[in-house]
């Protein structure tokens, strides 16, 4: 695979040769529990060509990047901060650790990790979307967090890092947007150090049917309208709701992590299963 890093200040843009990327992509076997064939995948409720999903997801996040934090607070009533705090607590991160905050977007986790790993540690904020990465970089710089953070534009399926690099990898509300989740999990496993852990924070399936129904109503009726009002983009938030429903449930994602090679995998439901934190180790 050809990887061409371009340094732009502290932002490193990794350009992956598209042909090589596609070739590697085609070799991968789709093992998600959806019914899509090898060349198609889901974009919300739509079935699209695999090579289309990336650009479609990209356009969603280019569109919502500026309002992302405001919308997160509005949509989750601020609870996303506690979900992220829970992830940080579960990471066991300590001074000197090297952390990869994958699909890190506007840098909520990176900000905290940066302070916890100290001067000897390092946090890489990686996101496939340049708009999200720019918003994150500006936000963190405004908060004076510069010394141990690096920014990398990268695809989770083809992580541009050496094997056994990170002590902790987190991917918060990002995995469901990845075209080939199995491939991304294998890529994360590769760059994780032995003894390191992966934390996947993602929307999941509510445990109780009543909560599920209320959640459906909220997601499909209220959420897109909020998106329309605040971010002037109802379609992107419609996709958000749909992509949550298409994401593997707790047990399926755990099985996918097992298949990717992670050990001692477990998950913890948060807010009745609206969100779940999956944890897995590499030994």
């Amino acid at each position: 695979m050809l990887i061409n890093p371009i340094k732009w200040g502290k932002l490193t843009i990794i350009l992956v040769n598209s042909e090589t990327m596609m070739s590697a992509h085609d070799q991968n076997h789709q093992t998600n529990n959806d019914n899509s064939d090898e060349n198609t995948t889901h974009f919300g409720f739509q079935t699209v060509e695999k090579n289309e999903k990336e650009s479609k997801v990209a356009s969603v996040f280019h569109s919502v990047a500026q309002q992302y934090d405001v919308m997160n607070d509005l949509m989750s009533f601020g609870i996303h901060r506690l979900w992220k705090r829970f992830t940080i607590d579960a990471s066991g991160v300590r001074p000197g650790n090297k952390v990869l905050d994958l699909a890190g977007g506007t840098g909520d986790l990176t900000a905290k990790f940066s302070q916890l790993v100290g001067r000897e540690g390092k946090v890489i904020l990686a996101d496939i979307n340049s708009s999200m990465l720019n918003v994150g970089r500006d936000k963190l710089r405004d908060r004076g967090l510069v010394q141990n953070i690096e920014y990398v534009q990268a695809n989770a399926q083809y992580l541009p890092f050496e094997d056994n690099t990170f002590d902790v990898i987190t991917i918060a509300f990002g995995l469901r947007n990845v075209t080939d989740k199995d491939m991304a999990l294998r890529s994360m496993y590769r760059v994780l150090k032995p003894g390191g852990r992966l934390l996947v924070l993602e929307f999941s399936k509510p445990e109780h049917e009543l909560v599920n129904k209320a959640y459906d109503f909220y997601s499909f009726n209220i959420l897109p309208k909020m998106g329309e009002l605040v971010a002037k983009d109802g379609d992107s938030y419609q996709y958000l709701a749909e992509s949550i429903r298409m994401h593997p449930d707790q047990e399926t994602l755990k099985a996918m992590m097992d298949t990717a090679g992670f050990e001692q995998t477990s998950f913890k439901n948060l807010t009745g299963g609206v969100v779940a934190l999956h944890k897995g180790y590499k030994f």
Partner: protein
């Protein structure tokens, strides 16, 4: 999630206090990248306090710490009296693992916090409103103290004299004296009985 909510609130409060501390955040320097974990009997999770970038971060992760204190809130209050430290450890009310200096540094920071609340308030709402608020606050505090004392006095009078649910101190003293006298009489009687039994045994 309660653990995360609580740790977030504690973290915000601590860092706000540190921000307003007159001696600044200098005291945090020796604790840079150090972690103190506190495990309280009343809480089902640990609270870890890590210092970094002149801030204290509170997490519920206890996987690694430089010093770990295992105790209860009640014992923490007692800890203010330094001489009790050894007694508390001996009585298994307090367990300290790791570098004790880290715990001492954290305790020093708490003790040396010096915040000029009036100046801080004046920066936000102005001098005159702060002065007025200060006066109202002092008046309220005085009234509150008076009310507390009055309520205590009234309540004890009502319980002791009106409802007769409690006894007075004089009654307790009198009762104790009566018990003491009865005890002495019983003891004398017991002694007399013993003597009579001995005499009876000798005669027979």
């Amino acid at each position: 999630m309660f653990a995360q909510a609580l740790s977030a609130v504690i973290e915000t409060l601590i860092n706000q206090f540190l921000k307003y501390n007159l001696s600044g955040t200098q005291a945090l320097k020796p604790l840079s990248e150090k972690t103190l974990t506190v495990k309280l009997a009343e809480l089902p999770f640990a609270l870890s306090f890590s210092v970094s970038d002149e801030k204290i971060h509170v997490t519920t992760n206890d996987e690694h710490s430089d010093c770990c204190i295992i105790t209860s809130i009640k014992t923490l209050v007692e800890l203010k009296k330094e001489q009790q430290l050894t007694d508390l450890i001996k009585n298994d009310k307090l367990d300290i693992q790791g570098d004790l200096k880290v715990a001492q540094h954290f305790a020093n920071i708490a003790e040396t916090l010096d915040i000029d609340w009036q100046s801080e308030l004046a920066k936000r709402i102005g001098d005159i409103p702060t002065y007025k608020l200060g006066k109202i606050g002092a008046k309220l505090l005085k009234k509150l103290n008076f009310a507390t004392t009055q309520i205590q006095a009234d309540a004890s009078e009502w319980l002791v004299h009106e409802k007769r649910l409690l006894v007075t101190a004089a009654e307790i003293v009198s009762f104790s004296l009566d018990v003491e006298r009865a005890e002495q009489k019983a003891s004398a009687l017991s002694q007399r009985i013993d003597e009579l039994i001995n005499q009876q045994t000798k005669l027979s």
